[in-house]
């Protein structure tokens, strides 16, 4: 195990230094004193195991590929954005927009996350052990977002594809536009159980419901635009019919 003390390293020198260590053959790296630097390990694409002992700033593990990264502290906004594969495991909490545009891999947060987790996600798994704030999974195009704690309002707003798994008892009342609340299938529950076992979460797949995108019969999204009188029943009522 290679050990890097980043206390005297400038932000711009940090990743090249880690990449050099990987190039020199390091397979497991322990990094301490990252002092909330930005884009920590972003763009790393080698099969390496990295543990970060403290917290990181924005864009942690952006565009991550193949690598497995564990952060023992918190991570800032946009962690794991555009991730391609590999793992980002966060032991504490995160800022907002975590897992934005993630295309693959597993992003696991044991604590809670901010707004718009999994924004525009296209693949992979995001597991949030705590709660997720508003607009979780907004405009997702694929992938699976699993939230063990409570969900904020507007969950799944305008998703094209993908799924949000929730066991928040009030989730049905917090949906965004264009999504529906449905039962979990056995296959989906089994898939969740496997993920929970892998990452050590105390939960069962069958406790969950699924938020999925809905398309109307013509395959079109139900976008909520300005619709003051166009609901026929209400209009008829107004006319006294």
């Amino acid at each position: 195990m290679e050990h890097i003390d980043a206390s005297a390293v400038a932000n711009k020198d940090f990743n090249p230094m880690v990449w050099k260590a990987i190039e020199d053959g390091a397979k497991e790296i322990l990094i301490s004193n990252v002092h909330s630097m930005h884009y920590v390990l972003a763009g790393t694409d080698q099969p390496v195991k990295v543990t970060i002992e403290d917290s990181t700033g924005m864009y942690t593990c952006s565009y991550l590929e193949n690598a497995e990264v564990r952060v023992k502290g918190n991570v800032g906004w946009y962690a794991g954005d555009n991730m391609v594969s590999g793992k980002l495991i966060v032991e504490q909490n995160t800022g907002c927009n975590v897992g934005t545009y993630i295309a693959g891999g597993d992003l696991v947060v044991y604590g809670s996350t901010g707004t718009r987790v999994g924004y525009g996600m296209k693949g992979g798994h995001i597991i949030i052990g705590g709660s997720a704030e508003r607009w979780a999974g907004q405009m997702a195009m694929g992938g699976e977002l699993i939230v063990l704690g409570s969900l904020g309002l507007g969950a799944g707003e305008s998703m094209y594809e993908g799924k949000i798994f929730t066991r928040d008892p009030g989730a049905a009342g917090k949906l965004g536009g264009n999504v529906a609340y449905s039962e979990i299938t056995e296959e989906e529950a089994a898939e969740l159980d496997a993920l929970f076992a892998e990452y050590g979460f105390d939960a069962e797949g069958k406790q969950f419901h699924v938020i999925r995108p809905v398309l109307d019969a013509a395959g079109k999204h139900k976008y909520t635009l300005f619709r003051p009188i166009l609901e026929p029943e209400k209009a008829a009522k107004k006319r006294g019919e």
Binding site: H38, G43, M58, Y59, Y63, Y101, M139, S158, L215
Partner: protein
């Protein structure tokens, strides 16, 4: 009383009546292709001053005038193209596969760059293009990390001139299986893209994001990081450009309000944003004000149609122009403004296999290449007349305004005078009334 025959309807033109009828009938706004037909002040409102006794013209037929253009000079690997005319980002989806390949082939014939547009990059486009620009859009449809490392230029997109503040809009009729695959979205849905990037919500985030992108590009391109451009629609140009430069962009693509698109709400196309003429002037003023003109490139677009527009844009201070609609017209488009329907009879703005087959790729590529070549030569002709041996040497002193409006907007003196009725621009700065 006698009935009034054929009255002058003033505000209530046939077009206005048709728009109202459409809304009354459908309860929604109309979507249209090709951008706005509104007449706005444009490059035609300027004239170029030829050399006479004060300076010598360059011989049109016997002397050379360089058209080579360097974009993003501050980048590790600046983009060098042979003509300052690039092909703007038009998506595979809005355009047919044949049209995209033809445009890419045209860039190889004339030595310029093509932008992929929204929703991924066709492998055939990448193979055939001379230089490839890749857009990073808020929707990130069809986007993949590896595309970044194959690009000769990157564009982070904040807005497009035809519908600034709105996002891409592709009608379900055009989302075929192939499009849905490349964009990674379900087939047949009306596609509404995102207007904001989910991985940078503001100027401060952008600074960090660009540092991160550069670092990753440096590593993966072996120290040949391509220039990163910001594509912005012309709005609050001064402020937007200051923010873009502060964020660390190598260049700006500024898109005026008459830019084209595959589908936009009529109101957005007609009423959002400002024309490229005053926007280009304001952009150059701003870059000069903050001392960034030499290291930050400026590409302007939005209704550029011929060599005169090109020459005038360069004289104002742009480094290049981008063409979209004009390139489509070169391929055969008649600007019927119905791209949104996906029934383009010329095989350009459609996904119907029978219609697409009508567009001969090589013929279309040659037409576009011919058009770019001829347009570049037109600009060269004007530049030589003005006494320049490099197209890039055209300067604002070579221009005069033809109308009070363009004079006031651009700060370029009114023809026949040294007077500016507004904020002066460069050499005329002290002569404002």
């Amino acid at each position: 009383m006698a009935k009034i025959v054929n009255p002058e309807k003033g505000t209530w033109s046939n077009q206005v009546i048709s728009e109202i009828q459409y809304k009354a009938e459908n309860g929604k706004y109309r979507i249209r292709g090709c951008g706005s037909p509104r007449r706005v002040p444009n490059f035609d409102d300027l004239m170029i001053l030829p050399g006479q006794l004060t300076r010598m013209p360059i011989d049109t037929y016997r002397e050379s005038c360089s058209t080579r253009t360097v974009l993003g000079p501050a980048a590790e690997n600046p983009l060098v193209i042979e003509t300052p005319v690039m092909i703007a980002g038009m998506s595979f989806g809005a355009l047919s596969k044949h049209a995209k390949i033809a445009l890419a082939k045209a860039t190889s014939l004339v030595g310029t760059v093509i932008s992929n547009g929204e929703g991924g990059c066709l492998p055939e486009e990448m193979e055939n293009s001379y230089r490839q620009s890749i857009q990073i859009l808020a929707s990130r449809m069809g986007f993949h990390k590896d595309l970044l490392f194959k690009a000769d230029m990157l564009e982070i997109l904040f807005g497009i001139g035809a519908k600034p503040g709105l996002a891409g809009h592709l009608m379900g009729a055009k989302i075929t299986e192939e499009i849905s695959k490349i964009r990674q979205i379900p087939a047949g849905i009306d596609l509404h893209s995102h207007p904001r990037s989910g991985d940078s919500f503001g100027a401060d985030d952008l600074v960090v994001k660009i540092e991160q992108l550069r670092e990753m590009l440096h590593k993966n391109t072996g120290g040949h990081t391509p220039p990163i451009f910001a594509k912005i629609a012309a709005a609050r140009v001064r402020e937007d450009i200051k923010i873009a430069v502060k964020a660390g962009f190598d260049g700006i693509i500024l898109d005026g309000c008459t830019a084209g698109t595959g589908a936009a709400p009529v109101m957005a196309a007609d009423h959002l944003g400002i024309p490229i003429l005053p926007a280009a002037v304001q952009a150059v003023r701003t870059l000069e004000e903050i001392g960034a003109k030499d290291r930050v490139s400026l590409i302007v677009s939005g209704g550029v149609k011929d060599g005169a527009d090109l020459a005038k844009a360069l004289a104002i201070g742009a480094d290049a122009i981008a063409i979209g609609t004009a390139a489509m017209v070169a391929m055969g488009c008649r600007v019927c403004m119905n791209c949104q329907a996906g029934r383009c009879a010329f095989g350009i703005g459609t996904q119907d296999p029978e219609l697409v087959a009508k567009l001969d790729i090589d013929e279309a590529a040659h037409k576009v290449a011919n058009y770019i070549k001829a347009m570049t030569e037109e600009a060269v002709l004007l530049a030589k007349a003005a006494g320049k041996t490099k197209l890039q040497n055209l300067e604002r002193e070579d221009l005069r305004s033809l109308t009070l409006e363009s004079c006031a907007m651009t700060g370029i003196p009114l023809a026949g005078s040294d007077l500016v009725f507004g904020e002066g621009f460069g050499f005329a700065a002290g002569k404002s009334l």
